[in-house]
Symmetry: D2
Subunit: 475 residues, 4 copies
Amino acid sequence: MFVQQFFVKGLAHSSYLLGGTDTCAIVDPQRDVDVYLQAAEDMGMTITHILETHLHADFISGHLDLADATGATIYAPRAGNCQFDHVAVAEGDSFSLGDLTLRVLDTPGHTPEHISYVVVDNARGPEPCALFCGDTLFVGDVGRPDLFPGQAVELATKLYSSLHDKLLQLPDFCEVYPAHGAGSLCGRAMGAKRTSTIGYERRYNAALQIADREAFVASLTTNMPAAPDHFSRCSAINAAGPARAGELPALEPLRPQQFRERSQREGALVLDIRGYESFGGMHIPGAYHIDAGGNFSTFAGWILPPDSEILLVANSETQAAEAAVMLRRVGLDRVTGVLHGGMFAWARAGLPLGHVGQVSAHELQQMTAAGEELVLVDVRAPSEYEKYHIEGAVNIPAPDLRTRYTELDPGARTIVICSTGHRSSMAASLLKQRGFTDVVNAAGGMTGYTAAGFAPECPVCVVPHGPRFLGRQVA
Amino acid sequence: MFVQQFFVKGLAHSSYLLGGTDTCAIVDPQRDVDVYLQAAEDMGMTITHILETHLHADFISGHLDLADATGATIYAPRAGNCQFDHVAVAEGDSFSLGDLTLRVLDTPGHTPEHISYVVVDNARGPEPCALFCGDTLFVGDVGRPDLFPGQAVELATKLYSSLHDKLLQLPDFCEVYPAHGAGSLCGRAMGAKRTSTIGYERRYNAALQIADREAFVASLTTNMPAAPDHFSRCSAINAAGPARAGELPALEPLRPQQFRERSQREGALVLDIRGYESFGGMHIPGAYHIDAGGNFSTFAGWILPPDSEILLVANSETQAAEAAVMLRRVGLDRVTGVLHGGMFAWARAGLPLGHVGQVSAHELQQMTAAGEELVLVDVRAPSEYEKYHIEGAVNIPAPDLRTRYTELDPGARTIVICSTGHRSSMAASLLKQRGFTDVVNAAGGMTGYTAAGFAPECPVCVVPHGPRFLGRQVA
Amino acid sequence: MFVQQFFVKGLAHSSYLLGGTDTCAIVDPQRDVDVYLQAAEDMGMTITHILETHLHADFISGHLDLADATGATIYAPRAGNCQFDHVAVAEGDSFSLGDLTLRVLDTPGHTPEHISYVVVDNARGPEPCALFCGDTLFVGDVGRPDLFPGQAVELATKLYSSLHDKLLQLPDFCEVYPAHGAGSLCGRAMGAKRTSTIGYERRYNAALQIADREAFVASLTTNMPAAPDHFSRCSAINAAGPARAGELPALEPLRPQQFRERSQREGALVLDIRGYESFGGMHIPGAYHIDAGGNFSTFAGWILPPDSEILLVANSETQAAEAAVMLRRVGLDRVTGVLHGGMFAWARAGLPLGHVGQVSAHELQQMTAAGEELVLVDVRAPSEYEKYHIEGAVNIPAPDLRTRYTELDPGARTIVICSTGHRSSMAASLLKQRGFTDVVNAAGGMTGYTAAGFAPECPVCVVPHGPRFLGRQVA
Amino acid sequence: MFVQQFFVKGLAHSSYLLGGTDTCAIVDPQRDVDVYLQAAEDMGMTITHILETHLHADFISGHLDLADATGATIYAPRAGNCQFDHVAVAEGDSFSLGDLTLRVLDTPGHTPEHISYVVVDNARGPEPCALFCGDTLFVGDVGRPDLFPGQAVELATKLYSSLHDKLLQLPDFCEVYPAHGAGSLCGRAMGAKRTSTIGYERRYNAALQIADREAFVASLTTNMPAAPDHFSRCSAINAAGPARAGELPALEPLRPQQFRERSQREGALVLDIRGYESFGGMHIPGAYHIDAGGNFSTFAGWILPPDSEILLVANSETQAAEAAVMLRRVGLDRVTGVLHGGMFAWARAGLPLGHVGQVSAHELQQMTAAGEELVLVDVRAPSEYEKYHIEGAVNIPAPDLRTRYTELDPGARTIVICSTGHRSSMAASLLKQRGFTDVVNAAGGMTGYTAAGFAPECPVCVVPHGPRFLGRQVA
């Protein structure tokens, strides 16, 4: 028996190669499947099984591309009613993979059709040694059951059973291989560690300490973090079967005028993936800004209108090509162009520019201390804002600005701040699209502000509550 | 808490990055340490600790290079009496790494000074969640205690205690992170899986099922596999502190005549790392052949005289450079030259060539069926030979041919066979060095022979027992 | 004005980027056109023109792929009657490219439709500064006129006029940019230098010193080197328009049994591109051997049956992919598979092997000195053979062995020799295909033989003229 | 004979591999010499000669590193009095390189010691076929003689003789291989073409059309473009022998606080090599900005104080490493650190930021049309400014702002413009260092301004001549 984990940073997604002797299964594959082909090759194994634990809400799975490339059989939950060739499995089913026996458990909760795979290594012993539980149980957390409107309580109740009546019945020593790690929005508080054991989670996973079913349900259906927009779309795409890699449009380099014309087509948008200081320096008016690091895929899935034709502005065409892969991971398949020559070519072509000013921690502090009239919008999640924030800052999470911008004055100087400056620059791009004329990004964010010695220890650094300012933040 | 495993295939060696929050430790680092610097960088962590579980016998550790590169502190077993700057630790000691507490256990057995690190993640709970046990406990096996001549029984006895009185006292759910996986000669029968749990090993690790201490000792001190020569050298080098990467000689491209002159210097040897069919086609007379895949490091450490100046023949200078890294991993530090232009340049220079014929499974079968007078030497380990072999084949493990060649007739046609053809080509090079004139390599080895339908099901395919042949195989 | 030369080693083919200010032309493009896109990008130029001097006989041109990628217009000789979209030009035509004026000259000779482009840089002066003359005039040589059966004298006569009446009318200072350099079989004796001037060639090009037309014609229609088989095919393909890169079959990795089955299909062949020592060590019986260096494309075009399905055996799949590009350059488009895992996998699968022994210069000398009964076949071109050879060696150029093998005894030990060992290994593969049982390759070839001190200075080193040997070499 | 040209874009520097048969010379090597080792390797040649035409003023030569790597002999002008091991040559000397004969001509003018190498290819004919003339004769230009203060007239006079009495005595067909191409400041008006012939230059090189010696001298000693500062330093370094690559300091990644402390050391400076929009967005106060494209080396040599310790801010550490190579090419050897994590890390550390606003062509036009009070500084060379510029713009070339900033008002809004936005951003950084508080960069420069339809056709787009503005530009 052999297990190899693959981690996609931007999605905090873990998939697995589970090897028997000569053959292996891939569990919950990512959409760009070359990594599995290479890994199987390196191990001298043939990929014969593709195992889906559930219809993923947060990313597009690579099951079809992988099946095409390998001829392997897809196993998927019976209750998922998937529309592609597969073996539909449910509790009671089991199958072999070399020396291994895989047993299916129904573990609804995160999604209605969710199953888990329990592995027995017959070469060693008759008891389960590993559990592939998708988004049912995480390291330090459990799968969130609130992604389907109106079903949260029902799913949370099922999750309680899936955990207590199924997974926790496994032996303490059984290893736990979940589909996500720290950073995923499929849970609230996952640990950085990427695997665990039944016994350890039984004892130290906070969600599992809530013995009372109703309390458990309540804890998972109230005060949950926001769910990105694409969470409501990916499951259906995965069930229908996503487009194959070969069917997707190529990324075409476009000269400035071509790019501009293309961007004015119905349903097209410009996505700028450079760093925030570059976007701030100059950008194409109307562009979205999501920089290509961190949670790029997730934020793109969240704020970009689905089915848009996406035109990229990047530091290089290589970076654009990588971004296209990341966009496809969340079902944004129509990435068709990249600005050839970048923004320098755009500027040389004499085309219009937008700008977002950047301020350092010191500059921000001086502006607020000096009593300048401005609106400070903290675009982090409420849970981050609650921990500490600059006094007077309004909290509107970045994606929410798409609608909640109406709470703000488009004519006021508006400073956006997040933890480091990246999300706030995304927020700045949303405000600029909506007619805000004077938007400034707090470079370095709360991290820089704190590091500079101002916050949160420094109670002086408050934004002055002028009447205009107060008037704005009341909903 | 965060754990990342690094696996060096040729040594089947696992090292680890164990992360707290901002800082991390590297456990049992390999000698080429860039992978750790990159991984820490990717995680945004600073390497502050370097943890050695013991003085490794089978590879040179990278602790000093890593300390140079990072300024991290080396922790090593007190009983190891190490001669470099370090914190000497022993049972009872404990220290923090961010949120983690690491507790030291003395776990002698594989080596006398061996310690293990038990990790408690205070952010989650007070019980141990992970064990870094070096070569004490493996997945499906335990560390071999027979590497130190005359101390095998004593060490095996200590190992029993280390396992039963120390490691098995840990909770079932505690994860086990050993320093080796399948393929390492530090154990006998490790599983392909690279991590496990205390509970699973407690129940299904065969060595731990032997409750009787004496039976345990007996099982680990009799019929053990051979230990490569360098196993007796690396510990001392690791204790003294190996040479830094920057102090090692550079690999110089040498034209054929230069290469030849250099190879004739006292203490110099030629090591050919190409595939066996290339070596067989033509090679420099007197060269060692170990091809650059598989267990290259281990076999090089095993059969090459220590302190030799090594001159490489390779497919490319890139391959030679990679091989130099692999040689340094087992303490073969004097890799000074590579044949520029390869064997084609050598041949164009009109210099002498040696050859080793290759035979397919069919050719081998025909030769033996036809009753040709030949000696068939199976150079696999006795344990492999015992499972199945061609009738009449003499079993002398490849490295043993360095001395046991005297049991064979240098004038006879000698066919060498292993499982695939790689080790047997190494054996062929040893025989050629010792004056054997007609050495033939069985390409594809027993794997090909079996795949072709001949063995072991085919009892016909025996080597004819002519009197001369019989005379050879009696020791 | 800007000129950049691109040289494809295996074909000794020179193509050019000729730049005006913002736009540029590509002259005689190779089939893999990415290099031009990149170069134009680097220069900030747009490719607007694709100029063909003639229908190349020795390689497939990239004009269609380049036109697809850029939208540029193809200019081709009117007399070529090309069947793709193009501007047909002939003497008297001229056109602009930025500041440049290009004037067309009819320069038949190498081929009937051949034209040349004379460049005037109007930014500098009214006289021609550069000539793109394809295969009409080379550095130190002229284009051979003997490639079209029956037309040699007519074409040679036209070539005389093209040179003396057209090209030599240009000023001495005009730079000459030909389509080939040393190593090409489109001429006999090109210099290593890749450009020249009209004045220098006028004075020092031997072919241009022959003032008498008839003597000129005679010199170019007698004793010409052999022309590879594909020289009679490529012109037609170029005129019709070759398949686009995107239409060509992909290279599929095939496991040994699959590979074997595929190779047994009608019209399929196995092409082994590894080094000769690897091929000699073990290969798939029946395979062609052409190693991937040197004149790979040319020899492949020469000896492989056109329209065959080609299955590759290589050192790596990367090498195979590069070879596929080189094969496509000479119109061998059906490269469909590569042996996955290489010959090691083949041997492990227990499949049959062929072998070709290798001998060093010393071994060869000993064999001949000892009077062994053998046939020594020197497979170099007659012109090389004439310069020096081993006494008694039969001269049959490697490609000719496809038919002239009948002059040799398939049962005799046959040693093949060329200048370095590569071509002779190709010859060995041809002989093995034709039933020769004992074929040996002279590693290092005449170069090694000479370097070892045997030939040609050493008159002792003759192959003994036994009666059987003598009998062989008489046609 | 074989010639290969190597072109370093940023310096517009051409060096050459001149091959005989097995051996070759490198003419005027760049400082990073790996390209020559690789090229010689590819051609199967040994580098035996290193030929310097003169003591280069604009870059540091790689002669010593190349001699170290190859053992080749350095040939340098006798009048250069070089302080390293070399063969000192002067007119009358000649030497062989395989079939070639190289003859030395004294050709002073660009520098006092300048020589040229005339090549005869004895394999072809007795007349010269190639000329390596360094900076004496260029394609469309001649070497400037005004780099040595006080010697301009004398050197120009010598240059006249070197050209007319020496080089133009060579035959028309002789090819000309100069040391520079378009973009170099060693001439005024070189063509994009990188080679030429004696005959073509004789007829169409404007400088050679001036038959009168005095007129020639006058034309080359008046109205010459500015010479970068390092032009007065490199010659001496080249004569003494530059530091070897191995002796130069390594580039150390420094965390923000470390970087900041290092940058405050005596003699240290911060050099930001990102794009102008990134620099504008946020930068370290006091940093120089020269972006890593275009003429990076030349501008760095020009404006950075020699012997400074240089600390880089880059988009990536790879880019920083490449920049270090480019800096070393102009003798800026002390590049010791790079900001680890880039400006994002700096901002997160809460450290101070500077900013330069960017304006598009439209914004610039609106600002000027609206009569805003501002100073528009055109930082292009006077020759560029004269061709066309925005009415009212002050012309101060970027490097001159180091001293001529005093002509401007540090408190005024100052817009800098060049041809594309890169040089003007460098200028912006110089002004910011000198206390200018409101500096704005014209993104896209005059190119964008023109492309947008404003200039120079649009006479409306003038900067308003308010009294304050006029007052500024008068020295």
